[in-house]
């Protein structure tokens, strides 16, 4: 059983003040916030659009009368104002989070990505494009143990979103250089995402195949 001294000393009060400060600081920072989701281009993604559609239907069913566009605009205005206020409130706490590592951000799987993007690398040999890497494939496994590592999965997940286009380009260039070295007969490298709608349970049970389209293709010539 925990024991405590009969009368806490002055040091106990100082410690309690620090504990109170820490609890308030981390609680404030952990409160829900859109963070990196504040991107109009990301809001255009079909996964996000489907969520807006579902929520517009919900609020209308509760008696509101808004179009999806109005709902999005109001949410954007609210989120922008909220983020400004949040930044102001958290600003004095910045050094504490920076030096202690007590930063809080727990936006994990806020929504399933119904339109994920799967990374592929290809090289062109004698005019034919040959796939050398496909995420989660047992067949196309060039640098598979590296590219399938959990930290690379995080990167690939991000680079499927349009707001990371710049870094995705550098990511592709990095692997282009390595692929053209590993495949001396290749005269070009392509990095591309296959973006598709995940199957509903009914579709998966019926044996339907996924269908999608290739996006964000980047070709690097030797």
């Amino acid at each position: 059983m925990a024991t405590s001294p009969s009368k806490p000393g002055a040091w106990a009060y100082v410690r309690a003040a620090f504990i109170a400060f820490h609890l308030v600081a981390i609680s404030l920072m952990a409160m829900p916030a859109p963070g990196g989701g504040m991107s109009r281009s990301a809001w255009k993604d079909p996964t996000v659009q489907a969520e807006f559609r579902a929520w517009t239907d919900r609020v209308n069913a509760m008696g509101a009368d808004v179009t999806q566009q109005e709902f999005e605009d109001r949410l954007w205005d609210f989120a922008t104002g909220f983020m400004k206020a949040r930044t102001k409130v958290l600003a004095p706490l910045g050094p504490y989070f920076k030096y202690t590592g007590a930063k809080q951000s727990w936006r994990m799987f806020v929504a399933p990505h119904r339109f994920p993007a799967r990374l592929e690398f290809r090289v062109r040999i004698d005019g034919d494009w040959q796939t050398i890497y496909r995420a989660r494939s047992d067949e196309y496994t060039w640098l598979g143990t590296e590219l399938d590592h959990d930290r690379m999965r995080s990167a690939q997940f991000r680079y499927g979103w349009s707001q990371y286009a710049g870094t995705y380009r550098r990511f592709s260039d990095h692997y282009a250089a390595r692929a053209l070295e590993d495949y001396p007969d290749a005269d070009a490298f392509m990095s591309v995402f296959y973006k598709y709608r995940t199957l509903s349970p009914e579709e998966a049970r019926s044996g339907m195949d996924i269908e999608g389209r290739y996006i964000s293709a980047r070709v690097v010539n030797r």
């Binding site: 059983m1 925990a2 024991t3 405590s4 001294p5 806490p8 106990a12 009060y13 410690r15 309690a16 109170a20 981390i26 609680s27 952990a30 409160m31 829900p32 969520e51 579902a54 929520w55 920076k98 030096y99 590592g101 930063k103 809080q104 951000s105 727990w106 936006r107 994990m108 799987f109 806020v110 929504a111 399933p112 990505h113 994920p116 799967r118 995420a135 989660r136 590296e146 590592h149 959990d150 930290r151 690379m152 999965r153 995080s154 990167a155 690939q156 997940f157 991000r158 680079y159 990371y164 870094t167 550098r170 990511f171 260039d173 990095h174 995940t198 199957l199 349970p201 998966a204 049970r205």
Partner: protein, 316 residues
């Protein structure tokens, strides 16, 4: 008694440091595994070096410690990697007290902070936990430090236990606020509770093609609803841990929480979710770092009972 005095008194309590020692061991293990995995896979240069040195990104603004050490240079990165591994190993063994935790916390945060695109909430949670480990007397028992100091591997001398409560608060806050942000119509009541099914279809995170799980869709719906309510109701878990720690006091709510094993139900569900996540998904060390907090949910007496029960050497 004034509220302030009660607060001060609560956080002035002492107990043997067994829960904190177990948390320390698990945090050290998690650090070694997550950094070691990067080293073994040959990923240090590509993840954390600058583009000019073999990485794929430029890192002009590295974390403050990296800047202090001279910027994102290969020698700096490798030193931080080595310190993380040495610090993590020292934490497992219980060598170096708070200093080992400090070295681990600083080096881990610095190196993983170089490229935020190649990490996730698990880095943040581990950083938080390592910071708390710096504040706690985690090597007072179940450690080499203890063996050298007392001649025994364990020492039941009461220590300040306030950091144990910060561990509990942190993990509950993490679960609760992640639940609050799961606002998708696939997660929330009124929707079809299909979130887990669809998340398992995402190639970024699943270990293998998960289309087969469509045949067990109702089970995934149950999992979605249970995990959402479990997260949203996480503050009750905090209350349950507090009630369990103060079970000798009066109060109807306290009595019912303890009688219904609310703390245990939350903990068991947490273990089940984390094991399931680990089996079906590759989200890095998230499950391991989360479970590292769990010993803090229990007191020294409770953990000692469990250790004694499973110990191969039983006292007469």
């Amino acid at each position: 008694m004034r509220l302030v005095d009660r607060f001060v008194r609560f956080f002035d309590q002492r107990e043997p440091a067994t829960p904190l020692a177990l948390v320390r061991i698990l945090l050290g293990l998690t650090t070694v595994l997550t950094i070691g995995s990067v080293v073994i896979h040959g990923l240090v240069p590509v993840l954390w070096f600058d583009i000019a040195d073999g990485g794929y990104r430029s890192h002009p603004q590295g974390p403050w410690l990296v800047q202090l050490l001279g910027g994102v240079r290969p020698d700096v990165v490798w030193r931080l990697v080595a310190l993380s591994l040495i610090g993590g190993t020292a934490m497992i063994a219980g060598v170096g007290g708070r200093f080992a935790a400090l070295v681990t916390a600083l080096s881990f945060r610095a190196v993983t902070g170089i490229n935020s695109h190649t990490g996730g909430s698990y880095d943040l949670l581990l950083s938080n936990a390592l910071f708390l480990a710096v504040l706690a007397p985690t090597t007072r028992t179940l450690s080499v430090d203890c063996k050298l100091r007392t001649g025994s591997w364990t020492d039941d001398t009461p220590q300040h236990s306030w950091v144990r409560w910060l561990f509990v608060y942190q993990i509950v806050l993490t679960y609760w606020t992640t639940g609050l942000q799961k606002v998708s119509s696939h997660w929330t009541p009124g929707g079809d509770f299909s979130a887990l099914y669809y998340i398992l279809q995402q190639p970024s995170w699943h270990r293998a093609d998960m289309r087969w799980i469509a045949s067990a869709f109702p089970l995934t719906q149950l999992g979605t609803a249970t995990s959402w309510f479990w997260e949203i109701l996480a503050p009750l878990w905090l209350l349950a841990v507090y009630y369990a720690a103060t079970r000798e006091r009066e109060g109807r709510a306290r009595r019912w929480f303890n009688r219904l094993y609310v703390r245990e139900i939350f903990a068991i569900l947490g273990v089940v979710f984390h094991v399931a996540i680990h089996v079906f998904m590759n989200v890095g060390p998230f499950s391991l770092v989360s479970l590292a907090f769990y010993p803090a949910l229990y007191s020294h007496e409770e953990l000692s009972r469990v250790i004694r029960r499973f110990s191969p050497v039983r006292s007469a």
